[in-house]
Amino acid sequence: MATTFNLHRFANPARFMRLTDVVLPWLSAAAVASLAIGLVMAFRAPPDYQQGETVRIMFIHVPAAMMGMMCYACMAVASAAALIWRHPLADVAAQAAAPLGAGFTLLCLVTGSLWGAPMWGTWWVWDARLTSVLILFFLYLGYIALANAFDDPERGARAAAILSLVGVINLPIIHFSVNWWNTLHQPASIVRMGGPTIDPSILHPLLIMALAFQFIFLALWILRTRTALVRAKIDTLRQRAAAASGVDRG
């Protein structure tokens, strides 16, 4: 009971606005600072013994891939909360996350392609990893389209929430695709049994960049959620004003 009560407290839009008033500037500052440090470290990192300078694409590619998946997990949790508990904030938060996730996933696909062209010798192959990430991108687009496809926004939100839950099944497939099937994409280097296989001089900038992407996502997610809440409030006030003036004339 206690946990449900607490969740309700944070799901209250007014409380969310007050809390994020304080948190958002700090998050934004952390995002800018960690990105600055991460980028400097990324350019000072040594080249790879096989790939040479091309390894630097990884400093964008891997964090973008992580955030593409992380964002989907956040969206799905918010969607589940919206479906089950009907929190007023959950649908708004889920829909605010979708374009961010689509952006990160597209960045991951584009940078991966740019790396693949010189290293693999091809821009694109239909192996299990690449295909499942492309499906993730289409899931985001489908979610956005479905959420906006109904005249009644609540029905759109419900349909989109169900789609996002169905799509969750893709997350473990993306992660384990490189272990379950042989793919052209290399296996995991960081999250794997026996520790990372990246030299610390290359791993550290990568981790800082991953942290920076995390902050960027959180800051933008909160900002987008706040904007959506403010927009909803303005819409309500407008309708009320229109109704009031209609009553006056009548």
Partner: protein, 162 residues
């Protein structure tokens, strides 16, 4: 409260059913989801000559040879147990070298060699600066096959050894 609980159960049951269904489908299509076959699999179950397939493994050390001074090369793809001759004419990716992972796409000819129409280099999951490699080589801890064995593992069906 009961309606919320019912919705929670519906979502949980729905997710479990979906996970089981997806697992079964992926399991059923397992053979079609692999991007390439290893030389062992080709040796066990030779594909029809002339049909397009992809073979993955390591470029065998010392096997790369130029053909008649032209742009064509021949080399062997190995997974440690079996190997397969590959012939190719065209541009090679940056990472193509002996001892490294490779995926060759093409069709088998009558002699059982692969006539490749495309060569893709397969990168392993190791990243390190050249100085570290030099230091490892100097101290004798560097084994040429170490990176190779990781690739060979990936070349086995399903990467079972991971």
């Amino acid at each position: 409260m009961t309606r919320k609980r019912r919705r929670l159960y519906m979502v949980v049951v729905g997710m479990v059913c979906l996970a089981v269904a997806t697992g079964l489908v992926l399991n059923a299509f397992n053979q079609d989801l692999v991007f390439f076959y290893s030389p062992s699999e080709v040796a066990k179950k030779p594909p029809v000559a002339g049909r397009m397939i992809r073979i993955g493994g390591l470029v065998e050390m010392g096997s790369v040879k130029r053909v008649g001074g032209g742009p064509g090369i021949v080399f062997k793809v190995t997974d440690g147990k079996f190997d397969l001759n590959v012939a190719y004419t065209g541009v090679l990716p940056d990472l193509f070298r002996e001892g490294q992972g490779v995926v060759a796409e093409g069709a088998l000819d009558q002699s059982g060699a692969l006539v490749a129409s495309q060569i893709l280099a397969k990168h392993d999951e190791k990243y390190m600066p050249p100085e570290v490699v030099a230091a490892l080589k100097k101290s004798g801890q560097w084994r040429e096959n170490e990176a190779a064995s990781a690739n060979a593992a990936a070349a086995l069906p399903g990467g079972k050894s991971l």
